[in-house]
């Protein structure tokens, strides 16, 4: 027990009280536990705001789509997934996260993630949309995007493994094992979904960085990535000719450099998104008044929803959303600081890195700061699988917070 608490009561905002009744011999005391309502509220605000923006941005396209014909279609679907996600979140938050820290459960999670990825990539369970097999499904019914549960699985597995290894992670042997473990599923994802592979890699590296006490391997890696990025940008055309990169991946770089030149093809989406941001001004056109969602910005309720937020609520609305995310990350920090053990810290770190990287990548894509790649904005973009597993992850974080005992 003593091991689990640091004795540093960090929760200054919460009045610290002693148990009303002292512990009696032979009777298990039930410690009063902390519940991070602030995080819950931030998540609720973001996802409710997401519902509103999904409704606004998809109403027109949904109602003119003869296969749908109902303006609220996307909003309603998201609402049900969100409610299911909230149930999962609350359930997980009340459940001790140490329960999951069993080697066979970890093998199960890792193995299941691999199997589903293999099935998606190499069998007819994988459904192809827009030229990439990103959905797992049966027949023509798509069930979920396997990359999403894989993110949760890797967070769990790495938190468990890193907590087990502690500072042994800096030993080459263990580091190599961990990297190999991550590389296999990430490669399977990479085959069809570059952006999810990047997100997975960042999650894993972020968690390893948190657990490690060394700096230079990560600095070297960051430098290497930066170098590759610069070279890729400079020699994009050349790389196509040599067949190093798939054409559609490099064309994104070309489009990114000069979206106006590809206005009618690849640059359409990002350019229309920029038009939306630019025309929104300081306070936007008002909720529901955007015009770019009327068939101009593709995936308006999805990857590009941030552009619609900018158009309708302006810079003010967009910066409020960013601040909400920053506050959410701050809560993660606080929870991680007070986590009862390394496992808890690493779980929170994994979730934190996951959400943060998606937020940063999504906004960077929408503002054409980086080449276009499909990343959704957590809690706000439309997507059933995404919202379900995000809620599960927040549930884990809340569970870590819930293990914090309040004491003098």
């Amino acid at each position: 027990m003593a091991q689990q608490t640091t004795g540093r009561a960090e929760y200054r905002s919460v009045p610290l009280r002693t148990d009303p009744q002292p512990a009696r011999a032979g009777e298990r005391t039930k410690p009063r536990r902390y519940y991070d309502y602030s995080l819950v509220f931030v998540v609720l605000i973001l996802s409710a705001f997401g519902l509103l923006m999904i409704y606004s941005s998809s109403y027109y396209t949904a109602s003119i789509n003869p296969n749908i014909g109902e303006g609220a279609f996307y909003m309603k679907k998201q609402l049900w997934n969100l409610l299911a996600g909230l149930a999962v979140m609350i359930g997980l938050s009340l459940f001790d996260y140490h329960f999951w820290a069993k080697w066979w459960l970890m093998f199960l999670a890792y193995g299941a993630g691999l199997v589903v990825m293999l099935l998606t990539n190499f069998t007819s369970f994988g459904l192809e949309y827009n030229g990439a097999k990103r959905w797992f499904g049966i027949g023509n019914t798509s069930l979920f995007q396997p990359a999403e549960p894989l993110k949760l699985a890797l967070i769990l597995v790495f938190a468990y493994a890193l907590a087990l290894l502690k500072n042994r992670v800096d030993r080459l042997k263990y580091a190599a094992i961990l990297l190999a473990m991550a590389a296999v599923p990430i490669f399977l994802v990479f085959m069809n979904n570059l952006s999810s592979a990047i997100i997975l890699a960042v999650i894993v590296l972020g968690m390893m960085f948190t657990a490690s006490q060394k700096k230079w391997p990560f600095a070297a890696l960051a430098g290497f990535v930066a170098l590759v990025a610069v070279l890729g940008v400079v020699f994009a055309e050349d790389l196509v000719a040599r067949g190093v990169l798939k054409e559609y991946q490099v064309s994104r770089i070309l489009v990114w450099k000069n979206p106006e030149q590809y206005a009618s093809s690849g640059g359409w989406q990002v350019l229309q998104g920029l038009y939306a941001i630019g025309s929104g001004g300081l306070f936007g056109k008002g909720l529901g008044n955007g015009v770019q969602k009327l068939g101009f910005v593709p995936e308006a309720q999805n990857d590009m929803i941030f552009a619609i937020i900018c158009e309708e609520l302006g810079l003010f609305g967009a910066l409020c959303v960013i601040l909400l995310f920053v506050y959410m990350f701050y809560r993660f920090m606080i929870i991680a600081r007070n986590a009862p053990d390394t496992l808890g810290v690493l779980l929170v770190a994994g979730v934190f890195v996951h959400i943060a990287v998606q937020v940063v990548l999504n906004i960077a894509v929408v503002t054409n700061f980086i080449p276009n790649t499909g990343v959704t904005l957590p809690f706000i973009s439309y997507g059933g699988t995404s919202i379900l597993f995000l809620m599960a992850e927040v549930g884990l974080v809340l569970s870590v917070a819930h293990r914090v005992e309040l004491r003098d």
């Binding site: 003869p66 023509n140 920029l274 025309s279 009327l294 900018c310 967009a318 993660f332 991680a336």
Partner: protein, 666 residues
């Protein structure tokens, strides 16, 4: 002691070291997490700055672009061109709602083209379109969002596809292959003429462009029939907020014609039966209500399918037509499409004689008791420049009434000589000759008449019996109506009312009394004389058992006189004392059979056929409803036999000219 201390110390140290390492490890975790937080916050700060920069530097630019783009999203909503009906509401021209099929390849090929096969199969199943051809079109335009594929789909055809699509897409996913998608329908209107060539000369036609009518009522009443297109568009209001607005289209008005479906049918059938047997350059029949100028029927021998006006196979074979130059083709079409009854002027011939008589009566240049002597010809001009104008025969002494009954040219020449050219010309104006009647059809000719200044003696003489001036059929029918209705000249018209699409009357076109032409007395004299013409004179063949028919024949020689081409005509009305209907028949240049002489009998025959059928329909009572024996022509009436018509050649064996200018040749 020392030893025990030494054994104790490493243990305590190890524990202490372990605890220190653990604390160090934990604080390292926190530091790293804080580092990540700072990196993320910094990234978001950078992105916020990027956002602000986009808005600040490109805001105006992008706002404008967004506005410009919005203009593309405006779409017109087609108006519906108004109907044309007959006087009883039968649809003569209407606009049918049709659908255009739009293919959207970008949608069909989306989702990795899983929907393509299903969509093509649907189009093949419902419409029998060639799948390979469709696939080629779609795959050649993968970015396109709008391909007009089929026009003029009927509602059932559109619904057939939508039903198929709904049914197919609702199936269990295992029983289908993707979804049917990317096929839309747009609404359009197509002009339709339910009775094809019926009343084509009156109606004219409108094509793909619903705001344009060609010929006939479609052209004349184009402004009424045409509506205003609606529009749906996006705009940015004063607060910089995008709004979407729809302006509903305004549909065209309905034109209610004075044409009576039954009368028009009778007239057209009569013409078609005649032209099946005989050939002529033109043939026109007008049926008019003499008491208000309403045209009940108007038809010529030129008819064409209004639904396919360029299809002229009844007149030309395909090779013949293809051999023509573009100009000749246009001319050939115009020849069929133009309305002979209003667009062509011709010399009326003897049907003009009642006007001469009426004018003289009005000016007291003659009276009912006056007699004229016909010697078969009259000579004008000075010696050496004589011009002889012949009568069709030598009538001897004729009364004023007989001059009309037997159509005596000499008597008319005497009458106009007495009347004088000024008064004659004035009366031509009063009767509306030489001016457009203002009938509500496009392309009316004014005709050609002399003025008092340029009219010579022989011009006046020949004008007196209907030669040497040109009129159109509507002018004649309208003027003649005033002669028999008590002297009221009504503007001839062919449209009764304009209503909105729900049938509410917007504008009623009431008879316009333009002027008084002749007195009641004159009118009565003319009616009696023309009744006598049918009973005992040149119009005997027009008689119908049980009815009192009045009428006047006409034969005019066309220019050039040597071509021996004639316009024969007959104008009849019934009942003679109080006319309810007037029928005017004109046959232009009938091709004569071998050994046949020019005669008005065909014009009379056509008039009688029409009159016989429409009188019962119009409710004109028959005096002898019981079948009575037809009165045989009195054999003692030599004139009736010898002068079956007033053809100026009758009984003549000369070269056919009523006019000989001997002096010029000498």
């Amino acid at each position: 002691m020392k030893r025990s201390r030494q054994t104790e110390t490493p243990d305590v140290r190890r524990k202490r070291r372990q605890r220190a390492a653990k604390t160090a490890y934990k604080s390292n975790l926190q530091r790293r997490l804080a580092f990540i937080f700072i990196v993320v916050a910094a990234a978001l700060l950078v992105l916020s700055v990027v956002l602000i920069r986009i808005v600040r530097t490109r805001g105006d630019d992008y706002s404008r672009t967004v506005l410009t783009q919005q203009n593309y999203s405006s779409a017109t909503i087609a108006f519906r061109r108004g109907d044309i009906t007959d006087r009883n509401g039968s649809l003569l021209a209407t606009s049918e709602r049709v659908y255009i099929m739009i293919l959207d390849p970008s949608v069909i090929l989306s989702n990795s083209a899983v929907n393509e096969a299903a969509t093509l199969e649907a189009l093949n199943t419902v419409y029998g379109y060639d799948t390979a051809e469709l696939a080629e079109l779609i795959e050649a335009n993968p970015e396109s969002r709008y391909i007009r594929y089929t026009r003029d789909l009927k509602e059932e055809e559109k619904d057939a596809f939508l039903t198929y699509q709904t049914e197919y897409n609702a199936r269990d996913s295992k029983e289908r292959n993707g979804r049917v998608s990317g096929v839309w329908f747009e609404t359009e209107y197509k002009r339709a003429y339910p009775m094809n060539d019926f009343a084509c000369t009156v109606l004219g036609f409108s094509g793909r462009d619903a705001s344009r009518g060609n010929w006939g009522l479609e052209e004349y009443y184009n402004d009424e029939l045409t509506g205003t297109n609606g529009l749906t568009y996006g705009y940015i209001n004063g607060d910089g907020v995008a709004e979407r607005n729809t302006v509903e289209p305004v549909n065209g008005h309905t034109v209610v014609s004075t044409i009576d479906y039954s009368v028009q049918t009778i007239v057209e059938d009569t013409i078609k039966a005649f032209t099946a047997e005989r050939e002529c350059a033109n043939l026109g029949i007008i049926v008019m209500d003499p008491n208000n100028g309403e045209i009940l029927a108007l038809a010529t021998d030129k008819y064409y399918d209004l639904n396919d006006p360029t299809e002229l196979s009844a007149y030309y074979t395909e090779e013949e037509f293809a051999a023509l130059t573009a100009e000749e083709q246009a001319e050939a079409r115009a020849k069929i499409w133009r309305n002979f009854a209003i667009a062509d002027a011709f010399e009326p011939g003897s049907t003009a004689k009642p006007f001469t008589v009426a004018a003289a009566l009005e000016e007291a240049a003659t009276d009912a008791e006056h007699s004229y002597e016909c010697t078969g010809a009259k000579v004008f001009g000075t010696t050496g420049h004589e011009v002889t104008v012949k009568c069709n025969q030598t009538h001897g002494v004729v009364t004023l009434e007989q001059s009309l009954m037997y159509s005596c040219n000499s008597a008319m020449m005497d009458i106009v000589e007495n009347l004088g050219k000024e008064k004659f010309v004035n009366f031509q104006t009063t009767f509306g000759f030489g001016r457009q009647t203002g009938v509500d059809l496009p392309g009316e000719t004014a005709g050609i008449v002399y003025t008092a200044e340029n009219m010579g003696v022989t011009d006046l003489a020949t004008n007196g019996f209907g030669q040497n001036f040109n009129v159109n059929m509507v002018q004649m029918a309208a003027a003649f109506s005033s002669l028999i209705n008590g002297g009221s000249y009504y503007q001839p018209h062919i449209v009764k009312a304009i209503t909105n699409e729900n049938g509410e009357v917007l504008k009623e076109i009431t008879p316009t009394l333009v002027r008084r032409t002749v007195s009641e007395e004159t009118c009565n004299f003319i009616k009696e004389a023309l009744l006598a013409t049918v009973q005992d004179g040149t119009g005997a063949e027009a008689a119908i058992e049980g009815y009192e028919i009045g009428g006047k024949t006409g034969t005019a020689q066309k220019h050039p006189r040597s071509a021996k081409k004639y316009v024969t005509s007959f104008v009849g009305f019934a009942p003679a004392d109080d006319p309810k209907v007037l029928v005017y028949v004109v046959i232009d240049d009938l091709t004569l059979l071998e050994d046949e002489r020019i005669s008005t009998k065909y014009a009379i025959e056509l008039e009688r056929t029409v009159m016989e059928k429409i009188l019962p329909y119009l409710g004109v009572p028959n005096a002898n409803p019981v079948v009575a024996p037809v009165l045989p022509m009195d054999p003692d009436q030599p004139q009736a036999e010898q002068v079956p018509d007033d053809g100026i050649l009758s009984g003549d064996d000369d070269d056919g000219a009523y006019l000989t200018q001997e002096s010029d040749e000498e």
